[in-house]
């Protein structure tokens, strides 16, 4: 089977790269080993959130100060500025409505009630542009009875510390109560599947309208709209006060929704998305990769002019560690990691962890290296890359999106 480009991995970076290429008429196949870590996403993208523990206000400016080995440094601040605009377009073309700017971070709210710097946030989620000028004074935090996925007291406490006046209001509806029969299923994604019909949404709106009291904004956990934002819009239209959502613990409805929309758009552009298959090995000829074998396609390897490695980090099995080494399991390309296992981690889970920065080595064009030499038609994007730290630097989704589009450009330019 011959394609223009085969992308190994099926998450955010794979889809962003696949969409960019498919949009220009290229035949693209994505090999996705199941669902991705986007289902842990709270509805925001971050370009660069922190340097040395301090929040970044102007990410594009701060990118220029990053060390040489950071993936952004290989692309350069000017190109990142241009690509960041194309990312916004890619989202809106996919039907994902987000707001934000690469010039100035805004704040997103975590389920724990912490404000974190963000680049883009879904329009239906709570976004704070300026901590000194909050979007509302008085919040009605609607707490769904029996719901697991938001620690309401911590969230309320965090919001109060930011300067909001917060009323915690518990409520339920018949549809929500019916879910409690199966205690393990009282989760955000299950609620999103129940709260779909106009009747179910009206019952929620009735509660919000009668209980929100003096508040000038109603805050709900992000449990609406598994496929698009229309369920939220319907609910907002039924609710008298402005309504915003706040991220829940994973799996998240916002992440599920964004993935569904990106996949749908990719398919619409003619892309092929192989869900539940895994790239297992590759065949090299000289300094080129010629084909990739997958677990399911077996004796019919995927051949292509270009390949992209977007298999993610340790959690997605794009990187593996055993007791002796850290390695990239599909193609055996070079990784940047300490040989000494003692250095991989530090004591204390909140301490900086060296392994977060490990990943595959690439040249300036994001080409993977094998035995120190670049593979001409193989690029790495997203979390599998070395040199960045999504936890400490808040650059995970940004690196995924920016490198995805930069790699798509390189693939095009090399023609």
């Amino acid at each position: 089977m011959r394609m223009d480009t085969v992308i190994m991995g099926g998450g955010l970076s794979a889809l962003a790269c696949g969409i960019s290429l498919a949009k220009r008429g290229k035949r693209v196949t994505i090999v996705a080993s199941g669902q991705s870590t986007m289902l842990f996403n709270g509805g925001s993208m971050e370009l660069l959130g922190c340097i040395d523990g301090k929040p970044v206000e102007k990410p594009l400016e701060a990118i220029a100060t990053l060390p040489q080995n950071h993936p952004y440094s290989k692309i350069g601040a000017d190109r990142i500025a241009a690509i960041s605009e194309r990312v916004k377009l890619l989202f809106s073309d996919s039907g994902i409505e987000m707001t934000g700017s690469a010039n100035a971070n805004h704040w997103r709210i975590t389920p724990m009630g912490v404000a974190k710097p963000a680049w883009l946030t879904l329009n239906d989620h709570l976004r704070i542009d300026d901590l000194n000028n909050l979007p509302a004074k008085h919040l009605a935090l609607m707490c769904v009875r029996g719901f697991f996925d938001v620690p309401n007291a911590m969230l309320a406490q965090g919001l109060r510390e930011l300067g909001f006046e917060v009323d915690m209001i518990e409520f339920t509806t018949d549809d929500i109560t019916s879910l409690r029969r199966s205690p393990s299923e009282m989760r955000a994604t299950s609620l999103a599947k129940r709260l779909v019909s106009n009747h179910a949404l009206q019952r929620v709106a009735d509660q919000l309208n009668s209980l929100a009291g003096e508040a000038d904004m109603v805050l709900m956990p992000s449990v609406f709209g598994q496929n698009d934002s229309s369920d939220f819009q319907t609910l907002q239209n039924m609710t008298r006060k402005p309504l915003r959502l706040v991220a829940t613990l994973p799996p998240s409805v916002a992440g599920m929704r964004m993935m569904t929309q990106l996949r749908h758009y990719f398919r619409m552009l003619g892309g092929t998305y192989l869900m539940g298959d895994t790239a297992v090995s590759g065949t090299f000829e000289g300094d080129k990769l010629t084909s990739v074998t997958t677990a399911k396609l077996g004796d019919m390897p995927l051949k292509a002019d270009n390949f992209v490695l977007a298999t993610g980090s340790f959690v997605s099995r794009g990187l593996r560690a055993d007791y002796e080494r850290i390695y990239e399991p599909v193609l055996g390309v070079d990784v940047v990691a300490d040989n000494d296992r003692e250095r991989w981690t530090s004591f204390g889970v909140l301490q900086p962890q060296a392994y977060f920065g490990y990943g595959v080595a690439t040249d300036e064009q994001l080409r993977c290296l094998k035995n120190g030499k670049p593979i001409q038609n193989l690029r790495a994007i997203g979390s599998v890359l070395s040199g960045h730290d999504p936890v400490k630097m808040g650059d995970g989704t940004g690196v995924s999106l920016i490198t995805a589009i930069a790699a798509a450009d390189h693939i095009r330019e090399n023609k």
Binding site: G34, Q35, L179, S182, P251, K296, L297, V315
Partner: protein, 421 residues
């Protein structure tokens, strides 16, 4: 030394791979529509810890699992969630209780088919009658909304022996065909279409020495021992075809294929390692021949249709929908709509049972809406039970990709292009 030991110390229990991310619960079609089912994470890896301690922790709600395998397809950690659930069901059933008459009848698709073929006109008329349906609904607990797929007057194998077998040896290449119960008893045309297609590109088609129902319905209905017997017979025949006759085995049903390739070893303990790669869905086999430029397909100039492709659960688990989709895309006049991957809700015999009817239709609702929105004249899928469900629920005809290919094929031009006399 200590580190070496750790390196080898990996649990045999596949459920230990579960990281509790809960992603499987977001794709389960059953948990999406009912709170009676605990969801794949709880039913699978979580529950398994308890069941290892004491089998009494088995939860009857596990019978609600469709075995659609969508949880396994979604799992980022390679946990065989549905296999764990199926094994738990098997452990709880084996040697303890007998399947009900209804389940036994539904599961024995070949017994039912053999009898019904003999009296096809009577059977079809009777099974369609309201009084019959009412009796089946109340006495047998087979839902009254369901219409049994019509039985053919002539079995596929009878047709094949009378009208096709003689010519097959003359071809340069040869394959065997595992037709399955549906083709044999209900819809011989699909088998005839495959013969037409393969013959046009120079391949003779042959029956296996002995074919029995693959057993997918037997497993679903708890008749494991019978499934094992039939599975062994099938693998013996397949092995003879592959090693003695040098013929790979083609299929036209995604569930038979998945069952014989993956469920035989995983669920029934039947070792098929030596022949597994020789059990091939026909669309995949033909795609490979075209891809390697060993054959050419020429399609009719005037063929024009708009068709939606539905990815059946088991072909998604096989990861082979790609081949059926790419084959259909080769037909110049075919406007193909690829539907979002959602379960139709029938899951073999599941939806036929009275207690499951409403659930089955609720599960399929998303797919039916997508089909209505697609504005197509027909739907294509590789699964026969999806076909019944979609035909009943949308009113549109549903055709196997092989039938569509055979229909669109310009047989004479294809024979010439492949130098077949």
């Amino acid at each position: 030394m200590a580190e070496r030991m750790q390196l080898c110390n990996i649990s045999e229990n596949n459920f230990e791979q579960c990281t509790k991310c809960s992603i499987c619960t977001t794709v389960c079609p059953v948990a999406a529509v009912t709170t009676d089912y605990p969801g794949p994470k709880q039913a699978g890896p979580d529950g398994e810890r308890y069941r290892l301690k004491d089998p009494a922790y088995f939860d009857k709600a596990l019978k609600m699992c469709l075995n659609c395998k969508r949880c396994e397809v979604a799992c980022p950690s390679g946990v065989h969630i549905a296999d764990i659930i199926q094994h738990a069901r098997m452990d709880a059933t084996l040697g303890k209780q007998r399947a009900s008459l209804r389940d036994t009848l539904l599961a024995n698709t070949d017994l039912l088919g053999t009898v019904a073929n003999l009296v096809a006109p009577v059977a079809n008329a009777t099974l369609g009658l309201k009084p019959t349906k009412a009796v089946m609904h109340s006495v047998m607990a087979i839902d009254k909304h369901r219409t049994f797929p019509a039985y053919s007057r002539q079995k596929f194998t009878t047709w094949f022996k009378r009208h096709a077998a003689k010519e097959q040896d003359a071809f340069a290449h040869h394959v065997s065909y595992f037709h399955g119960c549906y083709v044999n008893y209900n819809f011989p045309k699909l088998g005839q279409d495959l013969v037409k297609l393969m013959n046009a590109v120079g391949y003779g088609v042959h029956l296996l020495d002995k074919e029995q129902c693959c057993g997918v319905a037997l497993i679903a209905n708890g008749l494991y021992k019978q499934a094992m017997r039939q599975g062994r017979t099938n693998i013996d025949s397949i092995r003879k075809s592959v090693t003695r006759d040098n013929r790979v085995v083609l299929t036209t049903s995604s569930s038979c294929t998945f069952n014989m390739r993956d469920e035989y070893p995983a669920m029934l303990g039947i070792d098929n390692a030596d022949v597994r790669d020789s059990i091939n869905l026909a669309t995949r086999f033909i795609y490979k021949l075209v891809d390697e430029e060993k054959i050419k397909l020429i399609f009719k100039q005037d063929y024009k249709r708009r068709i939606a492709y539905h990815t059946a659960c088991h072909i998604q688990r096989l990861g082979w929908q790609l081949y059926s989709i790419e084959m259909l895309r080769m037909i110049p006049g075919l406007d193909l709509v690829e539907l979002e991957q959602n379960c139709c809700g029938i899951s073999g015999t599941y939806g036929f049972k009275k207690e499951n009817y409403e659930l089955s239709q609720a599960i399929g609702a998303t797919l039916f809406k997508d089909i209505a929105d697609a504005k197509v004249e027909a739907v294509s899928t590789d699964c026969e039970t999806c076909k019944w469900q979609i035909e009943m629920s949308t009113g549109l005809p549903v055709e196997n990709p092989i039938s569509i290919l055979a229909d669109a094929l310009d047989v004479e031009a294809t024979r010439q292009a492949n130098n077949i006399k």
